[in-house]
């Protein structure tokens, strides 16, 4: 029997100006897993990731999310279906405070309807109280309580990434796409981030699909790991096993120049 798949990419292809970035690529993410996606530059990881996240439409193939064909749906509709993402370069709402960054997330808030803000004052206020309670919980979970009323634009790079992770906790997501969480984050904060991802996975049952260059992080979090090269999947399995595969070592890891002391 097939595993319970949350994301199922089927034979997806995409080219830019005649150059195939992704071709006939199939992969899947099992429910409850933290699946990693690695590969050399230009392997098509970002393109594939953007197709899954709804920023790009594939030329061929389809993306199945939780049993439903979601090929080409825009990001905000994918959000509605429970597929969330974070960004490689933190995309915080810089003029909103940390708490507001989280409070804007829940969908269909009564106060988001122009009409209700005018005539259903009570409903709006009640919704707002509930949203704020939830946002403060998440802020505490992430250890951001100290900066909760700071404008997000003034937070450090790592705090912004934590905040992004926090946004995915404001709703019941079925899967979260993590786009290079480690990029531009120092080690100490990375531990905190990785710890939060692990906790969300274990305690809250989140599924993660992680695109990453940082091998330490991949090694710590991901199982299985999918290796892409030249626009298609080269191999899949636990990282330790992949490191033994000469094809992958040649294509990706290379031979070290000099062993660190």
């Amino acid at each position: 029997m097939a595993a319970d798949l949350v994301i199922d990419v089927r034979a997806v292809g995409k080219s830019f100006g005649g150059l195939a970035a992704v071709s006939d690529c199939s992969l899947s993410v099992a429910r409850g897993s933290i699946t990693g996606l690695i590969g050399p530059n230009g392997a098509g990881k970002s393109t594939l990731f953007n197709i899954v996240a709804g920023l790009l439409k594939p030329d061929t193939g389809s993306v199945i999310f939780d049993g439903e064909d979601v090929t080409g749906l825009p990001p905000h509709e994918l959000f509605g279906k429970g597929l969330l993402r974070t960004f490689q370069i933190a995309h915080e709402f810089s003029h909103l405070t940390a708490v507001e960054n989280l409070m804007m997330v829940p969908p269909r808030q009564p106060g988001e309807s122009l009409w209700k803000t005018w005539v259903r004052r009570r409903e709006v206020v009640a919704g707002e109280v509930e949203t704020r309670r939830r946002a403060l919980e998440v802020i505490d979970f992430l250890g951001l309580a100290k900066v909760r009323d700071e404008l997000a634009g003034n937070l450090s790079g790592g705090q912004k990434k934590l905040l992004e992770l926090g946004r995915t906790m404001m709703v019941d997501a079925k899967a979260v796409l993590l786009d290079e969480v480690a990029a531009g984050v120092n080690r100490t904060l990375l531990h905190a981030l990785a710890g939060n991802v692990e906790r969300m996975n274990r305690e809250l049952g989140y599924t993660f699909f992680v695109i990453e260059h940082d091998m330490d992080l991949i090694a710590r979090l991901c199982d299985p790991v999918i290796v892409m090269a030249q626009g298609t999947v080269l191999a899949e399995g636990p990282l330790a096993a992949l490191r033994q595969d000469p094809r992958i070592v040649e294509a990706y890891f290379g031979t070290p120049l000099e062993e660190p002391a």
Binding site: L55, H91, S94, L96, E100, E112, S113, G153
Partner: protein, 443 residues
């Protein structure tokens, strides 16, 4: 911040009182009515630009639509038109337009029944051309009939003018919806060009559609929703008093509308709705990823703001009592609103309101002030034998365009966030603006 706003409003009040003493009450009340209508329009632009970061340089077009609606609703019914073939022929033209729209819609959907893309493109183009030709075959003779000497134009519906204001808002909203559907995906500077173009087209249409608007022949007198000065004179007021009473009545009506609109917008902006809009303006890619339908929300802002512009345009036309499409200009009806919002403080309704009153007063007063200035200088030049300055009156009118231009560049340089900046804008994030576009996120 609140103190600053309070002080500025006190200053504005003092200025208005001073103008009242200098120019007389009837003049000042007239100025206030117009300023209040402009304030409504400035609030509309503040919704679009301040809340949503949307460029709209087509304000003139929406104001013209609003003015037309006031005329069409309130002018008396034209018997010659309704007795002629005109209505029937116009009806046929309308049907032709509808049929054309159906054909185009059909062509747009051909791919769903398996037509190949290139063939569909061709058919789409053919559908557009066919629909256009068909429409022209119906509308051209209708226009010829209506524009004949006996009929002239379609006239109005003879309904209360406030219905015209409502229609003005609705029509402007409808047009904004169409424009927004087509253009809101564009980059901000392209949207600016597109909206300027649309305003130019609306201008060309309303100016040349003599059968609908009488074009350059102008329409007057457009009725008022409150008693006219003549009415008060009939009731026994002096001429001066009658103008004050009548215009004050009009002013109260406009202020009531302005107040209600202000209250509703403020309330929405302080709610999650406003938070969502700020988030979208900040980073629309992330807002999209967080489940907000960015395009739909921007469309909402665009339609809402444009509706206010339409209403403001209606109010101005019924107040002036004359509709002259060729009197509209980009400077007087689009750029001035931008100056109001930027000087007042984009993103802050109190700021936009203040900016509207202040700039309108500067705009109106710079004419008499420069006239006085020119006359004085002219006296000197005459005294030293250089001769007087010719055409002082028409030159003074131009002076205010220059003054407005100067005000906007000075404001951008010295108070880029306006007199009453957006709440929270003082605590500006330190980091550099992000340079990431959707295309770059892809590769």
């Amino acid at each position: 911040m609140i103190r600053r706003a309070l002080l500025l409003y006190l200053g504005l009040f003092a200025l208005i009182v001073a103008v009242g003493f200098a120019m007389g009450a009837p003049f000042t009340v007239r100025l206030l009515v117009e300023a209040a209508a402009y304030a409504l329009i400035a609030l509309g632009l503040n919704i679009q630009w301040g809340f949503g970061g949307l460029f709209n340089f087509g304000i003139m077009g929406f104001m013209m639509i609003g003015g037309f609606a006031a005329v069409f609703m309130a002018m008396p019914v034209s018997a010659p038109f309704w007795d002629s073939d005109g209505p029937w022929m116009l009806g046929k033209a309308l049907l032709a337009a509808g049929a054309g729209a159906l054909v185009i819609l059909g062509a747009n959907r051909l791919h769903r029944i398996g037509f190949p893309k290139p063939l569909q493109r061709t058919l789409q183009v053919i559908a557009w051309i066919a629909a256009y030709i068909f429409f022209r075959t119906q509308i051209d003779p209708a226009i010829a009939v209506i524009e004949s000497r006996e009929i002239g134009w379609v006239g109005g519906l003879g309904l209360p003018v406030w219905l015209g204001w409502v229609l003005g808002g609705l029509l402007a909203a409808g047009v904004a919806w169409l424009i927004g559907k087509a253009c809101l995906g564009l980059r901000s500077d392209y949207l600016a060009i597109a909206t300027i173009g649309i305003a130019e087209i609306i201008f060309a249409l309303l100016k040349n559609m003599d059968w609908l608007t009488r074009g350059t022949l102008t329409v007057s007198p457009v009725p008022w929703p409150v008693p006219l000065p003549q009415q008060y004179q009939a009731w026994g007021s002096t001429i001066d008093e009658s103008f004050i009473y009548a215009r004050a009545g009009y002013l109260l009506l406009v202020l009531a509308i302005l107040g209600a609109v202000f209250f509703l917008i403020q309330r929405a902006y302080g709610s999650p709705w406003g938070r969502m809009m700020r988030a979208i303006r900040d980073n629309h890619i992330a807002a999209d990823a967080m489940g907000k339908d960015v395009r739909a929300r921007q469309l909402q802002l665009f339609v809402l703001g444009s509706a206010l512009m339409g209403i403001g345009g209606s109010i101005l036309i019924s107040f002036a009592q004359i509709y002259d499409p060729s009197s509209y200009s980009t400077v007087n009806h689009t750029f001035i609103i931008w100056v109001m919002v930027i000087v007042g403080g984009a993103g802050n309704n109190l700021g936009a309101l203040l900016g509207a009153f202040l700039i309108y007063i500067v705009w109106i007063l710079s004419e008499p002030v420069s006239q006085w200035l020119f006359t004085t200088i002219s006296g000197w030049t005459e005294a030293i034998g250089w001769g007087a300055i010719p055409d002082i009156t028409s030159r003074s009118v131009q002076m205010r365009v220059f003054v407005l231009g100067l005000v906007i560049v000075l404001a951008l340089r010295f108070a880029p966030r306006g007199l009453i900046p957006e709440i929270g804008a003082g605590r500006r994030p330190q980091d550099q603006p992000k340079q990431e576009s959707p295309d770059e996120a892809v590769q």
